[in-house]
Amino acid sequence: MRSDSKIKTEEIKIILATDCGSTTTKAILIQYVEGSYRLTHRGEAPTTVEAPFEDVTRGVLNSILELEELSGHNILDGENIISPAKDDHGVDIYISTSSAGGGLQMMVGGVVKSMTGESAQRAALGAGAIVMDVLASNDGRLYHEKVQRIRQLRPDMILLSGGIDGGTVTHVVELAEILEAANPKPRLGMNYKLPVIYAGNKKATDPVKERLSKITDLITVDNIRPTLEFENLQPSRDKIHDLFMEHVMAQAPGYKKLMSWTDTPIMPTPGAVGEIIKKIAETENITVVGVDIGGATTDVFSVFQGQFNRTVSANLGMSYSVCNVLAESGFNNVARWVPFDMDEADLTNRIGNKMIRPTTVPQSLEALIIEQAIAREALRLSFEQHKEFAVHLKGVQTERTISDAFEQTSSGETLVNLMELDMLVGSGGVLSHAPRRHQAARMLIDAFLPEGITQLAVDSIFMMPQLGILSTIHSEAAVEVFEKDCLIRLGTCIAPVGKTKQDHTVLQYEIYLPNEKITGELISGELKLLPVPYEPIKVHLTPGKGLDVGAGKNESLETKIFGGVVGIILDGRGRQPFNLKNDTKLRVQDLIKWSENTDEYPKQVTHHV
């Protein structure tokens, strides 16, 4: 809380929180009602970092105006937030997250790309940054190419690491010399020095200072990789957050004013979402994959084996970078999810128009179906990138015994194991605001292809960023609102894994509801929905021949699962491999059937489009 703020945590009864996204600014009002904190209202308005406003606070005020209009609660006195709350107006605290203005754009450097380079990348990503490039001694580029690249990218901040403590000095100093030669300038503003964080070999600190302290704003923190076996990311992440506020945000249009309004420092949106994902994994003691699909970027978070990882796919988003999704996935991959025939020029023009008018919303069902098809591809591509990045520490020597000889785990192998995944959580406009929760469930399943038994959830109205920052100052309120108003339990997906044959049984199921037992068979290629509310349910599952549903190949499984607002989705379409039919007519037939079976779109209109 702001140092001059006199309010104590227990006195906080009304909280205003905003998230300034690249496209929309979202405001929420949290109130203490009948003994608990609840989300009461939400407002939104286009973000106004662009001309003619060029002042983020306009969008913030507009979103608060909408909140006032919807809630009838008076928050503003002209352009001032009334605080603390008195009678029926004002709020006790105001907090905000932000990813507007392009977010935090960083370059990182390390000696070996896959070791200290990756550690630096993990630190920056975990702090909520977009990593524009990773410089490394062994990245294959010539010196002058690296220098040119730094000059051209003009990052907001650089994190330089390299060498374990007591290890190489020469290579680290070499990286510092490249930075010195490039003499990098910040992206925003000409009148301040570029912040550079040095988090490498202690022994190289002095020569690095010698080269960089005059031309940059150099800050030294503890080594990010003091030994090969240990990563120490927190000091770098904390410093990135501090500098984000002090340097980067202060340069963006209107942020100085916004910073003076908030009671706690503004946090980068992805950093705040990461806080919430970690909290879910901790409190429920589960493995989690979370995704936040935004207008410009898609962030994927995961907690496997207690390790938190975040990746940001900088150019995979639903508005500003929607054409890049199309470019990276290709027309056919998007079109395969659309249950009607589409002309390539028509589809690309529609998607192009979304890119150039990013704040528009789909009015027709056809437009919605196309957007959700692109979302599947954006999510799939982002998850592919995440799997490649969320890996065991590379370069670690592991002692092996004879019993390990048949295990393939090695340094650098991905931590993401879909069969081990307990919960998949989605956030971001296209998932949170999908007109039917069934659509969010289908997008998550089709994009991530969860294996075995996986719980699905979605951020109700896209408020994880605000709750993430709230959790850092008022954990109780954040957790209460998260449980009661934010996390919507969609249900559970059950998907047997392995090669299937046409028309063969892939799963036999017995589901014990409180007053009823449901039994049945799932045939290959089928997708079924059993509407079951959120409650623990005993199930007995027997996979088809050669298939695995979580207990091993051909092994039956008895366990407890949860329903949800959508229910239990039995997915017999196959995993490893999952394929859609190549023939357009047959594929469209399948898509319509699956859509009808899962209550995805209004039936009469599905046939109409």
């Binding site: 001309a51 030669a181 150019n315 500003y320 890049n324 919303v361 027709s364």
Partner: protein, 374 residues
């Protein structure tokens, strides 16, 4: 009364235009506040650092890195020429010396006793910024650039490619709904800026390029053609640095879309006048839209500007729909209901009740409306 803020593009017949002309790095500003400028006048200049070359002196001379500084024959910041001997090892008893020649003309900028590397810089690259438009300098940002003020017409497009260009505006179509075709582009259109209509094909653009047209303004264009011109799929709308020949400014969007009547009328009424255009677009992190700027020397004209409040849609506002199924249609706001409404897509959104020019009334999401400033 309910109001809703909406993004809007400037289409102004006469307004005060301020252009910031900034250097990429600090440098020299050549003019002062009050100076009058013509479009080609150089207002500021600087030098971008030259390319660097790193030489592993320790390796080449076969000496330890800590001995490299004493082997250097030139001082820091000293000029060097290509093939000049810049370092020499001590050898054994003064014999068997190794020498190192400079691979470039430039200066020696750094020598490291830790890595044994020397950094050589090529000569700096001069950069000049011109005025782009005629007008008067109203502000000088020390060492960074100037602000030029002028009066005239300003039209913003939705997306452009190609950077700055200039020339005389020429009407090439008969209506905003005409497609600009190859046969409409004549040899005398060289160095001109053509006002098109609803669309142009890739082949027309190539023909315009061959003729030497400076710029084309069109209502629509195909996304796939745009990718073909650029040589890659435009993933994120950040453009301006590509070298494609004529600058292309799209005023409405992708596909065949008639240019907004108002835009077409305004541009046509300025045919024969000088225009500066810039296709640079950045729809992210501080949006930059492409623009057509037509300076007007007539001192008697009346300026029309607008306030921020004018961008708030309210009852009676003139608007245009910017997304299917009513894309491009113009109408007036009848009411702005507070409650959320359900669309065909089942999306719950805040809406506006719109009466179109043909008398029909439709409910449209507020987010899909664009204000038309009059």
């Amino acid at each position: 009364m309910s109001r809703s803020y909406t993004p809007g593009l400037k289409i102004l017949s006469r307004t005060k235009i301020r252009k910031q002309r900034q250097l990429p790095l600090k440098g020299i500003v050549h003019l002062n506040v009050g100076d009058e400028v013509s479009p080609d006048k150089i207002v500021a200049s600087t030098e971008l650092p030259g390319n660097v070359q790193m030489l592993n002196v320790a390796n080449k001379l076969n000496v330890e890195p800590e001995n490299v500084p004493e082997c250097m024959l030139v001082k820091l910041e000293e000029s060097i020429s290509k093939n000049q001997i810049i370092a020499e090892s001590k050898g054994i008893f003064g014999m068997f010396k190794s020498q190192l020649k400079s691979p470039i003309d430039g200066t020696l900028t750094s020598v490291s006793a830790v890595t044994g590397q020397a950094i050589l810089s090529e000569p700096p690259v001069p950069v000049e910024v011109d005025a782009y438009t005629s007008g008067v300098i109203t502000d000088v940002q020390n060492h960074e650039g100037v602000t030029i003020e002028t009066e005239g017409a300003l039209v913003q497009g939705i997306l452009g490619i190609g950077g700055e260009n200039r020339g005389i505006l020429e009407l090439a179509t008969n209506s905003p709904n005409d497609e600009l075709t190859k046969d409409m582009i004549k040899d005398n259109h060289k160095n001109k800026i053509l006002i098109g209509g609803s669309f142009l094909k890739m082949s027309t653009f190539i023909h315009a390029k061959e003729v030497g047209v400076a710029g084309i303004i069109s209502g629509g264009f195909d996304y796939l053609d745009l990718s073909n011109i650029l040589g890659y799929s435009l993933g994120v709308a950040i453009t301006g640095s590509e070298k494609i020949g004529p600058s292309l400014i799209i005023t409405e969007g992708f596909g065949k879309i008639g240019m907004a009547e108002r835009t077409y009328k305004l541009l046509s009424s300025n045919a024969g006048k000088f225009a500066a255009i810039n296709g640079s677009t950045q729809i992210r992190a501080g949006v930059i839209r492409p623009e057509i700027l037509i300076p007007n020397d007539d001192v008697n004209g009346k300026n029309i500007d607008y306030e921020e409040a004018d961008l708030a849609i309210s009852s009676g506002s003139l608007i245009r729909v910017i997304r299917a199924p009513y894309f491009g249609k113009v109408g007036r706001v009848m009411s702005l209901p507070t409650a959320l409404s359900k669309m065909e897509s089942e999306t719950m959104v805040r809406v506006a009740e719109i009466k179109f020019e043909d008398g029909s009334i439709e409910i449209i999401p507020r987010a899909n409306l664009e204000m038309i400033l009059t």
